[in-house]
């Protein structure tokens, strides 16, 4: 089998057009990687600068009323991932800046796409675009005639007569084209590693390895299928047309059909419906700024009873801070309920979409690619959750300071000092454990492997039924 692979390698090496094409493609691939890497580095730099600036602003508050500080708020930035230069996933559309303040949970803003002058269907020239769409096309063009050309030229008879086994021949042809794809993939990863040598950690190595395995498996599936068509049909044009049809189905139609179907199977509320439902539920809670609010009165009675006094003015603490925290707590319950539902629906959508990999391994590849690169919705949602947790801790600290820091109820002019503001920890994003990411994409990995086995079976069947004459 190795002899046949080596011979196919000779064909690839000695074909000047292919060599030129490969060289051009490698240049584009490296350029895209360099551009992506530069963008990631710039984003990281901007992220660090903005983060330091905002933290500096916070720490330079000399004295301020804690509740005013809650309204003043702060900003949290989504850190850019080192693997973004390989696959930026959902990052270009999700945004990366979030304002953290009291009473409200803001939405993340400033997506890359929202700031682009020209929007392309395929996005910017990124490595993932080339690895997911262009490399497979190259592999199809290399594989579609591998066996049919042997049949048409009559060489197949000679090969078999000389002792080549049809299955070995078919597998060797697949492997040869597949190795060409692997070489491009390895080149991307080597360039990526060289560019980021200083920042590479054990986790990045593991993630990159899983990223590599996903692409390697997908390339095998695609190449194997093209070779199968080449075995099955005498005519190379039919094999190419079939394979291109499948490529279009896999990369354009099925993912879009799946997305639309998944949205229908597990519908998300519209933005207006969602906001209205949140507002309605929120209105049933305590109004932190309205002392005559009914539920606020109940809380007041409870606190007065606890401190065994008759009026707010007799309280040793600032009741306004307690009322505002109670308002926050209720708001958090409402947020958890609505966003929890939203996340449940999103999880159902993700699970259904992942099952699309049964029909289309490209779906599994896209999922694992952005998942292992750490730029999928799972990572994005985790970031939003961590920000919300931070917001709650921050606002509670501010409300507690307002309540128990030494002021009295109604004393809105009271101010906490700089030491207090400095003592509040900055937001620190904790990346998701790789184990969690892997379990989230286990089904995609399994489906890719099952597809690879299915392709092996097809090649075996094809080789058994190969028509020599």
């Amino acid at each position: 089998m190795w002899t046949i692979i080596k011979n196919e390698g000779n064909f690839l090496r000695r074909n000047k057009i292919l060599l030129l094409l490969s060289l051009g493609f490698v240049l584009i691939l490296i350029t895209s990687l360099l551009m992506g890497n530069k963008q990631v580095q710039q984003q990281s730099l901007s992220y660090e600068t903005a983060k330091e600036h905002i933290r500096g602003q916070w720490e330079s508050i000399k004295e301020m009323n804690p509740h005013s500080a809650a309204h003043y708020g702060t900003y949290v930035f989504k850190p850019s991932n080192l693997l973004s230069s390989l696959d930026e996933g959902v990052n270009s559309v999700t945004g990366n800046v979030l304002r953290v303040e009291g009473h409200v949970q803001n939405e993340i803003v400033h997506s890359e796409a929202s700031q682009m002058e020209v929007v392309s269907k395929f996005g910017k020239l990124k490595s993932a675009l080339l690895l997911q769409y262009i490399v497979p096309l190259l592999l199809i063009f290399l594989a579609f005639h591998t066996v049919s050309s042997e049949k048409q030229s009559g060489r197949l008879k000679l090969l078999i007569l000389q002792g080549a086994k049809p299955f070995s021949l078919v597998i060797a042809k697949t492997m040869a084209v597949w190795l060409y794809g692997i070489a491009l993939l390895v080149l991307v990863i080597i360039v990526y590693a060289i560019l980021n040598l200083e920042s590479i950690t054990g986790e990045i190595v593991t993630r990159t390895f899983l990223f590599f395995l996903s692409y390697a498996t997908y390339y095998f599936i695609l190449t194997g299928l093209a070779v199968f068509f080449s075995v099955r049909w005498q005519n190379a044009t039919v094999a190419l047309t079939s394979m291109l049809g499948i490529w279009i189905l896999w990369t354009i139609f099925i993912p879009n059909i799946m997305m639309s179907s998944v949205e229908k199977w597990h519908p998300l509320p519209s933005r207006a419906e969602f906001k209205a439902a949140m507002t309605e539920d929120r209105s049933k809670g305590i109004d932190g700024h309205n002392p005559s609010d009914e539920r606020g009165k109940e809380l007041k009675e409870k606190v007065l009873k606890k401190y065994k006094v008759d009026s707010i003015s007799q309280l040793p603490i600032n009741f306004d801070g307690i009322r505002m925290q109670a308002d926050e707590d209720y708001g958090n319950i409402v947020w958890d309920k609505h966003f929890g539902n939203l996340r449940d629906v999103q999880a159902q959508q993700k699970a259904s979409f992942q099952l699309g990999g049964i029909l289309n391994p490209f779906i599994s590849l896209q999922n694992t690619s952005k998942g292992f690169a750490g730029n999928d919705n799972l990572h994005h949602q985790e970031f939003l959750l961590q920000v919300e947790k931070y917001r709650r801790v921050l606002i509670k600290q501010l409300n507690d300071e307002h309540a128990y820091g030494g002021s009295k109820s109604g004393d809105w002019g009271w101010k906490a000092d700089n030491t207090f503001f400095k003592s509040i920890a900055d937001f620190k994003y904790q990346p998701i454990a790789l184990k969690t990411v892997f379990s989230g994409y286990l089904i995609d990995v399994m489906l890719l492997l099952l597809w690879a086995l299915f392709i092996l079976f097809l090649l075996y069947r094809g080789a058994k039924k190969i028509q020599v004459v």
Binding site: T3, N7, F11, R155, K157, L161, Q162
Partner: protein
């Protein structure tokens, strides 16, 4: 060496070979004459084990070519009308590649010797096959079979499209192989070449062997007349 007994083969009800009986001994060359569709290629494909006969048996050195095709193929060298080699490889690289497929490993000098023995000029050994003429490719094809130490050679229209010189070289080469003990079956339209090279001649018409004779029994002109008579009737 080659025994074909009562072999018939049909495709979708059309009889391609009908009750064929042939025997080719060691060192013997049999020329199979016939028009297009007479069953020559079908017979060769059955000998190669790529087609199974509907009835009858085919053996190569006693090995059943249908049921033990892998074993039988080890003894067979096949030279089609157009020897399509890998155009991006040189003559010697093509020979080496096809030898390696059969698990044979030869040194460079051995490969060169074989190409030379099969008539390929030494300056062509390291040229890419894309620059080869049909005759040169055929010589490499014969070298592939020779390197395999084939005991049986099957040639399908080998002289078609060759210039007289190349055709003559081919005839000499086949005679040499037969002298070394090979059994050769040559399917052809070329009566004169067959008359010149073969020991025995068979005429196939619509799948049936209508005449089998020794070459020495007829002159070239008589053979032509005989052939034309069979084809007309």
């Amino acid at each position: 060496m080659i025994t074909i007994q009562n072999v018939s083969k049909s495709f979708r009800g059309n009889l391609a070979v009908k009750n064929l009986n042939l025997e080719i001994a060691k060192g013997e060359i049999l020329g199979l004459l016939g028009a297009n569709g007479a069953g020559k290629s079908t017979t060769i494909n059955m000998l190669l084990g790529f087609l199974k006969p509907d009835t009858g048996s085919i053996t190569v050195k006693g090995i059943d070519a249908s049921n033990k095709s892998d074993e039988a193929r080890q003894l067979i060298g096949y030279i089609p009308e157009n020897v399509n080699l890998y155009p991006y490889l040189t003559g010697i690289e093509n020979l080496n590649y096809f030898c390696q497929l059969g698990g044979l490993s030869y040194s460079k000098s051995e490969l060169t010797d074989m190409l030379t023995k099969c008539g390929l000029e030494s300056e062509a050994h390291h040229k890419k096959v894309s620059d080869f003429s049909k005759g040169m490719r055929q010589k490499v094809g014969i070298a592939i079979a020779y390197a395999k130490k084939a005991e049986v050679y099957l040639l399908d229209e080998p002289a078609s499209g060759l210039d007289p010189l190349a055709s003559n070289e081919l005839s000499e080469l086949l005679k040499k192989l037969a002298n070394e003990g090979a059994a050769i079956l040559m399917a052809s339209h070329d009566l004169f070449r067959v008359r010149e090279v073969c020991h025995k001649i068979g005429i196939l018409k619509k799948g049936s062997l209508v005449k089998e004779l020794l070459t020495e029994e007829v002159t070239a002109n008589e053979l032509e007349q005989l052939y034309l008579d069979f084809m007309k009737n």
